[in-house]
Symmetry: none
Subunit: 412 residues, 2 copies
């Protein structure tokens, strides 16, 4: 079973966006044991799209397209797919109803001409609902081949693929690839690879590979077998060995996020928490609030960017700021204690640092961040030095702060 | 002059890596005025690569490949390119010397068989040095067409393209493509396309195309001309007409970000600002802090997720929360007024809403957000209803809030 991916969008050819859809779909198909044979990108041009559909159907059994389903005159993927397979476009009443509902929920009273086009599909299509956008996708089966048409925005493609396309494609697949990911914070890819070098070198099925991600590092164990259970059985012993090596450094598995892991621990232990942020500017609070259950324990976040706010809101002493400056061990300590005290929480977490691009000095370079952590009256401060630009420094500081809390409240 | 990009690598087809080379090269070519016609990806398979080279040379004048230059038997791009153009591979002595130097600098005393392969090139190639890796690239010219072969790792491709390929390609470029992007918040892609439908329909050079992005919508004007100035002259009148149609709805141009536009306005006007966030949980503060100069005017952010914090920090009345609930017009108003008052700022911005997935009710569905804006003592509240998941609702609320401030403080 061979598949290929055909992305439609002049934006991709202009280099304005990176084609993450191709990667996401390729990865999904690999997991399903379906071989991806080819990826291609054409612009919003029906003739080139038609040519690529012809070539694709000669090479492969399944073509998955993304993009070109919008309401504008440029959006012609469905129209071209219909033309290629000799089908007419027909109105789908359910899709029209959904579109109307969506528009009215956004406070727009009626659909205008262009938007109605999104409720038309090639005759005989199976329609793929899109709760995250206005353009549903569709599948056209033709003999033993299939043309699967998906929208362009990744946040629409991802759920549509997982919820509607994957269950249909499973019937095409005869072998299974399963992966298990262990997520680690605070250890770089190189050191991680060294700590696990014996396992990495000597594993063929499953394979073990380390990857550096933006906010953390991961170890991925991947096994291939005729059934899911057999693949999982291959993974288990390797997973146990890696867990022994990395211990508490592993904060989560697969798609776990630090805020989910930490949020659940805080709720389970009923530890209340508050945050006081300078250089991270609200990102710690925002990350915690990503976890839907956090409202039970997260009392308050203070973004105290100015010295004034650090003093007024958190009770940081003027003498501390004068003597040690805002980016210091002492300020971080008083910030963490101040937010825990004024919010009356078990835990107070605080950051103060120099995210850049300006503000650095030889003694306090860009990337320097102090993190203060006050747990039930006891306060510790750690000093970090991050590489990278303003956004990276801030993201890494957030990750360090949340992972540190996790480590501190883990039962030992 | 038409070009296409052909990336070679099974890891791209497996979805293990995202194809950033294609984006980088596309963007570079667009800036050079060379039209990218097609992108494709094939695995480490010489027959498929050969087929794609044939198709590519029929469609385009320049093919740029990436990947498949490594030392392993899988790496066959140069070999296949040579076969396609009927050339033999010959040893390049300079490349061999460089390779030897590189190996000895890495503490390896001699080159092993496979590695020597990286010093062989199709006869008559112009060689592209690679100071960042072991595999040089090469250019083969054939009549008025060119095959440009680059390595795979982006950190090798980027400098090689800029230092060696770009100067050569400039001679191929007889036309320049320039784009201008107008960024709009608060109007969907469909309505935007309708508002500008006459211009979109009737424009060929420049073209005008609307796109929906995650946080905003954009209109891109793209012109092609023999020189940059002529292209800009083609863009200007269309840009003026679009600016008249969309007026204040346009918050920025090209790569502008709302926090940059708003941050600059706040600093220029010396308006101090503070934020009180419930559902957005710190994202407004974090966005403002993205703008490096914001410290002059951003006094404080409060993430008042609990009712307790809304009362204690912001002075929201218990009777208001009891009578109208936390997600209400009245609470948003008191939050905005409370943060402006307690932080002593000109502007207070506040959000309270139901980001989901839980917490919705028929009267107050998921996606409902009230935004309060207090400017110099005068407070307004707006009600928004966003589609999408928790993350999307929060991002859109942040965008609406910041764009609303921008609109309010724009000189009329």
């Amino acid at each position: 079973m061979k598949a290929e991916i055909l992305c439609v969008g002049t934006e991709i050819l202009l280099g304005d966006i990176v084609n993450t859809n191709a990667q996401f779909i390729s990865k999904q198909l690999a997991d399903l044991g379906i071989e991806v044979f080819h990826q291609s990108v054409v612009g919003d041009n029906p003739e080139r799209l038609l040519e690529e559909l012809k070539n694709g159907f000669e090479r492969s059994d399944i073509i998955i397209t993304t993009g070109g389903l919008g309401p504008t005159q440029d959006d012609l993927t469905k129209e071209t797919g219909a033309r290629f397979l000799g089908r007419e476009l027909v109105l789908d009443k359910d899709s029209l109803e959904n579109l109307k509902k969506r528009f009215s929920s956004m406070g727009r009273s009626y659909l205008k001409g262009n938007n109605v086009k999104q409720a038309y599909f090639p005759k005989g299509s199976k329609i793929l609902p899109n709760p995250n956008g206005t353009a549903p996708g569709c599948i056209m089966e033709e003999g033993n081949k299939a043309l699967i048409i998906l929208p362009g925005p990744p946040k629409e493609v991802t759920p549509m693929f997982i919820n509607y396309v994957k269950p249909i494609l499973k019937k095409y697949s005869t072998r299974v690839i399963k992966s298990k990911t262990l997520r680690i914070c605070g250890i770089g890819e190189g050191i991680m690879a060294e700590m696990a070098s014996d396992i990495i070198k000597n594993s063929t099925n499953p394979t073990v590979a380390p990857y550096a991600k933006e906010e953390d590092t991961i170890l991925r164990i991947t096994a291939e077998a005729p059934t899911e259970n057999e693949a999982l059985d291959l993974i288990k012993p390797v997973e146990s060995r890696l867990k022994k090596i990395f211990g508490i450094n592993i904060y989560g598995e697969d798609n776990a996020k630090i805020e989910g892991v930490l949020g659940k621990m805080l709720v389970d232990k009923n530890y209340t928490i508050s945050s006081a942020e300078s250089c991270t500017g609200g990102l710690i609070a925002a990350k915690l609030v990503n976890y839907p259950g956090i409202s039970q324990v997260f009392k308050e976040g203070a973004v105290t960017y100015s010295n004034e706010a650090k003093m007024n809101r958190l009770g940081v002493k003027k003498s501390t700021l004068d003597k040690y400056s805002a980016v210091s061990y002492e300020t971080a300590k008083e910030m963490a204690e101040g937010i825990a005290r004024t919010s009356n929480t078990d835990i107070g977490i605080a950051t103060t640092g120099i995210a850049g691009p300006g503000g650095g000095s030889p003694g306090k370079p860009v990337g320097l961040v102090y993190i203060g952590l006050c747990i039930k009256g006891k306060t510790k401060v750690k000093k970090f030095q991050y590489p990278g630009n303003r956004a990276t420094v801030r993201k890494r500081a957030v990750m360090s702060a949340l992972d540190w809390i996790r480590r501190e409240i883990t039962d030992k």
